[in-house]
């Protein structure tokens, strides 16, 4: 396999409702990513793109519709979709294209426009539950998170305040991100006082609904070295699926992530991730998920994560900054684009180009992760400089 580097990245702003169409959003992020590394579309060999269910946009075969905006005209173009994990999985998808030797350059583009579905895109998540044994109970998507959050908290005796600390950490980081859809500081009290939706989930435990796009450019080693003196290497990739019988798993621990993380670390030659990884972008659609995923990523001992969070271990200037981008809680959650945004954050942080968000101490190794489908799939990318 060939070495593959990230050489450019671009985003749109993440907003509750965007004027631009999905194709236009994709074009903005894609052209910004190309400009960032001085490439033209003619320099790109192939396109790997990702977007969530067609039902969100009400456009069947959305991948084909989006392709023009992703620079896919007359190029080998493939869409990947694994629910919430799509944004990181698309990077792995693109990595295959280049690592295999088939292509020298690949554009990875992820887009989501969640505002079109009326009255709420959440409606489409109702159909992820088993059609016969679960949907008859009229579940809503929040149930699954509330059930998992409660199981996780009760296992270790964590409180809602403990979980709120993660929301505050990420939302504070996100205030510095140029794509963020938030401007206001959020306190632990704000999270605790926000309306209860499905105990233990309150409104500010949850990331928002967003529109947005993200793109990165991947290149094989010789091309990457010509383009930049600071290529960010994809050191390891991993992904696994757990069973769709989600009630059968013990939800306190993200087993679906454990194996994916170990696979990525093994490829990257990382033996002690908690010591070797400098920045982490765990998937954080809910505050508890950031902590849950830090454990699955082997970056925090099970049940000790809140203690480390309280000690400032995961702060921007801590030993292992968690979601320096702000994550989904702090920047926004246009589903597929949010995962790619996390990989873009590793790119900027590892190059020392994150501006006021920059993590101190010249970080050299970072990990980004996303999670999706029926709470069962995880995709992990380790990047280093």
């Amino acid at each position: 396999m060939r070495k593959v580097a990230i050489v450019g990245a671009g985003l749109t702003k993440f907003v509750r409702r965007a004027l631009e169409t999905p194709k236009e959003l994709s074009f903005e992020a894609t052209s910004t990513a190309l400009d960032s590394c001085g490439l033209k579309l003619e320099d790109i060999d192939c396109v790997a793109h990702g977007s969530a269910p067609d039902a969100f946009d009400g456009i069947h075969q959305k991948g084909e519709y989006l392709a023009d905006g992703c620079g896919g005209w007359n190029k080998p173009t493939m869409r990947v979709f694994v629910g919430g994990a799509t944004g990181v999985h698309a990077i792995i998808h693109g990595w295959h294209h280049v690592a295999s030797g088939m292509f020298d350059t690949c554009l990875v583009v992820c887009e989501e426009k969640m505002s079109s579905a009326m009255p709420h895109a959440q409606g489409f998540f109702l159909t992820i539950f088993d059609a016969i044994t679960e949907r008859a109970l009229h579940p809503n998507l929040l149930w699954i998170f509330a059930l998992e959050m409660n199981r996780y908290m009760s296992r270790y005796g964590y409180t809602k305040e403990d979980m709120a600390l993660a929301a505050v950490n990420n939302k504070r980081n996100g205030q510095l991100h140029p794509s963020s859809q938030f401007k206001d500081e959020v306190t632990v009290e704000d999270v605790l006082n926000s309306e209860i939706m499905a105990y233990p989930v309150s409104r500010l435990d949850v990331s928002p609904v967003s529109d947005g796009a993200a793109a990165v450019v991947l290149a094989a080693e010789p091309v990457a070295r010509r383009l930049t003196d600071k290529p960010v290497w994809i050191e390891g990739v991993g992904w696994t699926l757990d069973t769709a019988y989600w009630g059968t798993r013990d939800l306190y621990y993200p087993r679906y992530l454990d194996k994916a993380a170990r696979m990525a670390y093994e490829m990257a030659g990382i033996r002690e991730p908690a010591k070797q990884i400098n920045i982490a972008e765990p998937y954080d659609p809910f505050d508890y998920k950031a902590l849950h995923h830090m454990e699955g990523l082997q970056l925090s001992p099970r049940g000790k994560t809140v203690e480390l969070l309280r000690d400032g271990h995961f702060a921007r200037d801590g030993n292992l900054p968690m979601c320096p981008s702000g994550g989904l809680l702090g920047v926004g959650n246009p589903i597929a684009a949010a995962g790619t945004m996390k990989v873009a954050e590793l790119f900027w942080q590892l190059r020392g180009e994150a501006g006021e968000r920059q993590v101190p101490g010249n970080p050299r190794l970072g990990v980004a992760q996303a999670w999706g489908d029926l709470m069962q799939v995880s995709s992990v990318v380790v990047a280093g400089i």
Binding site: G123, P139, W143, A146, Y245, D250
Partner: protein
Amino acid sequence: MAEKVIVSGGTPLSEDDIRSGKIFFTEDSLDCAYAWDTGVAINRYLAELKKGKIIATECRKCSRIMLPPRLFCELCFVPVDKWLYVQDTGIVNTFSICHVHWDATRIKEGEKPHLPAVIEIDGASKGMGIMHLLGEVEPEDIKIGMKVKAVWKPEEEREGSITDIIYFKPL
């Protein structure tokens, strides 16, 4: 180092922009209808529910007693043909107290919150949980680890559905 241009596009719209006619939009509504066959294993599961019983299958290789029952073990990847009844009691593995509908609108004032739970059914392998609802319990009294029992619909009202169990109540 100076920050490069990394963000372009994503123009925020407000409800007002749309209401005031500044932004045009089109609308469409899709009406999708489906009828699902229940499959071999779940058909038997539902038929037994109609009789007021919960049936599981056991993998002859890993000995897991699985709920909902299935025709193959997804871990061992072998066919499964051993059927056995389990109890209609179990313990609450986790639960939620839900005050919102799927579109995040609040339930009506005075309406009881929905009480979804994962229930580990007695007689199935440890940790073998199914999603169902809790009832006849005050939300503040629900505890993880609590023993519960199925409350069945009257026999003549059962129709071969997971809702033949109305909910699980504390034992």
